[in-house]
Amino acid sequence: MITKTEIEKANFRNVWVIGEVEDGTILPVTHELLGAARNLADKRGCEVWAVLMGSEIQNPQLFSFGADVCLLVDDHRINHFIDELESKILSRLIEKYLPEIILCGATSRGRALIPRVAVSCYCGLTADCTQLDIDPDNGDLLQTRPAFGGNILATIRSSNHRPQIASVRPRVMKIPQPDNDRDGITIFEKILPSDEINNKKVVDVYHDSQSAINLADAEIIIAGGRGTHGKAGFELLHQLAQKVGGAVGASRAAVDSGWIPYTHQVGQTGQTVQTKIYIACGISGQIQHLVGMQSCDLIIAIDKNPDTPMMQMADIAITGDMFEILPELINEINQR
């Protein structure tokens, strides 16, 4: 078993953030991770390193967000996400610089990339963390994550392996206030020798206007279910969402009925969301839906039937017809 002794462990230092870069732009999840990393690094008395892999990365100096070092791999061959390539680069950098903790976003990309890294480095990986802390007794990373659809909070550690890796749920950690006086150093690293680059390639990319309103990024979700009765009902939800700058979610029943694409589905076979406000319209609340949204801060339910599980779970339960109430609500908001 490839565990690390205390002496070996001492060689591993610093907290890394694996940034997310798309078309040269650094995505906000990177800044969130830097905030979390800064907090951990201060407790450990070490540095925060931002690791960026991409092509023509814009404004890579992330010092103002808490990074001490920016480790840059900027190469035209990293213009699209190639899992194997990025994981190999990262594994090589880990071997070279020996970080103690690595954070990456629990995004589609992060969750594809980081397990490969954890396997090749034989180290522990905890998925989709919502809280991170340092054990004051031994310096271990304490990683807390929801499991069983948010019904259990598990705290996980990896005492005998280094680095300790966690993917972190987007929108949970706060983006720190930028401090423009902070400075740091930038290290440029090369991509792999070309014979280690595989033949995988991305041949087409398309941004989808439907999934562009990413549920995970929203602060407010207006969601509809069977009681939305069709596309006209969802049109009403879209209107309200536009008004309040929210996104539209849906139950499985609504998606299966063809009223709205799958990318909007919240719940067990869709997405798990943790927004500030979740407005459930005509969603009875099957358990498969509830596990996808029960961690939202404020749950508002609108339903004709006051006895549904959703109406019981809601912080605010409005008994009535969404087709009558939502237009009034839009009116009310317009008047403000």
């Binding site: 078993m1 899992d83 995004t107 589609s108 969750r111 594809a112 397990p115 490969r116 954890a118 090749s120 180290c123 522990g124 990986l125 998925a127 989709d128 304490l142 929801p146 499991a147 069983f148 659809g149 259990i152 598990a154 705290t155 996980i156 392996h161 033949n199 995988k200 390639k201 991305v202 041949v203 087409d204 989808d208 999934s211 562009a212 990413n214 990024d217 067990q268 798990t272 406000i277 099957q286 358990i287 596990v291 961690s295 404020l298 599980p309 019981q312 779970m313 912080d315 605010i316 339960a317 409005i318 008994t319 009558e324 109430i325 237009p327 009034e328 609500l329 009116n331 009310e332 403000r336």
Partner: protein, 262 residues
């Protein structure tokens, strides 16, 4: 094409009951089901075989009772089932799980494609698929909504991500994970189910897959769960709003203002 589909038995509950005090779901995890995402993986593997010929093998790791989902898979059209079950596998985290599954896939031999569901609904990690790919040092593609064959050795995969899709050429052998939407899984027929009752399930132990025992189960797992607790309770009471639509809307806005949201 020789396809291995990795499936998992997970606890399930059909009933949504809400605890009136904590506003949390009361979970009665008495039933075990096939992980919902695995249905899409199974369907896709069977469809690929129907299109291109070959063989589909369902693989799972779990207690002896996990045999049930292998029979379900056989009822749905896979050719055979392999169960990794042994005390030595117990307590595996995603590192050790993907190691054991990868060793089994090596043992099966000549596998072209491994298909997994996006994630299991109990652990929700989505780490095992990429983990298998890493152990085997194969290419991977995750969150797929479409798989097409380009030629003997290359598949075209449509990957779903946060703001759209891309099409990625993947060279076989490879590991892929799929999401809902890639297909509409068939429902087992009575005939299929009756036939599956007598199907033979292969049981493999660590020595059958030439696994390093040090890397299996709790022993081989870098992570440890040190504490589990229920999530913090939600608010203890529901504010109920009734009345005319206009009254309801006004009251809702008032409630949001009280919380300084509007």
């Amino acid at each position: 094409m020789k396809i291995v589909v990795c499936i998992k038995q997970v606890p399930a509950s059909n009933d949504a009951k809400i605890d009136p005090l904590t506003k949390r779901i009361i979970r009665d995890t008495v039933k075990s089901i096939m992980n919902p995402f695995d249905n899409y993986a199974l369907e896709e593997s069977v469809r690929l075989r129907e299109q291109f010929g070959g063989e589909v093998i369902a693989l799972t790791m779990g207690p002896p009772a996990a045999e049930a989902i292998l029979r379900e898979a056989i009822a749905l059209g896979v050719d055979s089932g392999i169960l990794l079950s042994d005390r030595a596998f117990g307590g595996s985290d995603t590192w050790a799980t993907s190691y054991a599954l990868a060793k089994a896939i090596e043992k099966i031999g000549n596998v072209d494609l491994v298909i997994c569901g996006k994630q299991a609904i109990d652990g929700d990690t989505a780490q095992v698929g990429p983990g298998i790919a890493a152990h085997l040092d194969w290419q991977q593609a995750t969150y797929l909504v479409e798989i097409k064959r380009k030629d003997e050795r290359i598949i075209l995969t449509k990957r779903l991500h946060e703001n759209g899709y891309d099409i990625c050429e993947v060279t076989l052998p490879a590991v892929v994970t799929v999401v809902k939407g890639i297909n509409t899984p068939r429902v087992p027929t009575l005939k299929g189910r009756l036939a599956s009752l007598n199907a033979e399930i292969t049981l493999w132990k660590p020595e059958d897959i030439d696994a390093n025992i040090e890397q299996l189960g709790l022993n081989g797992s870098p992570t440890r769960v040190v504490k589990t607790e229920p999530p913090a309770p939600r608010t203890s009471s529901t504010i109920k709003i009734e009345g005319t639509p206009q009254q309801c809307a006004k009251e809702l806005v008032r409630q949001l203002r009280l919380r300084s949201i509007v």
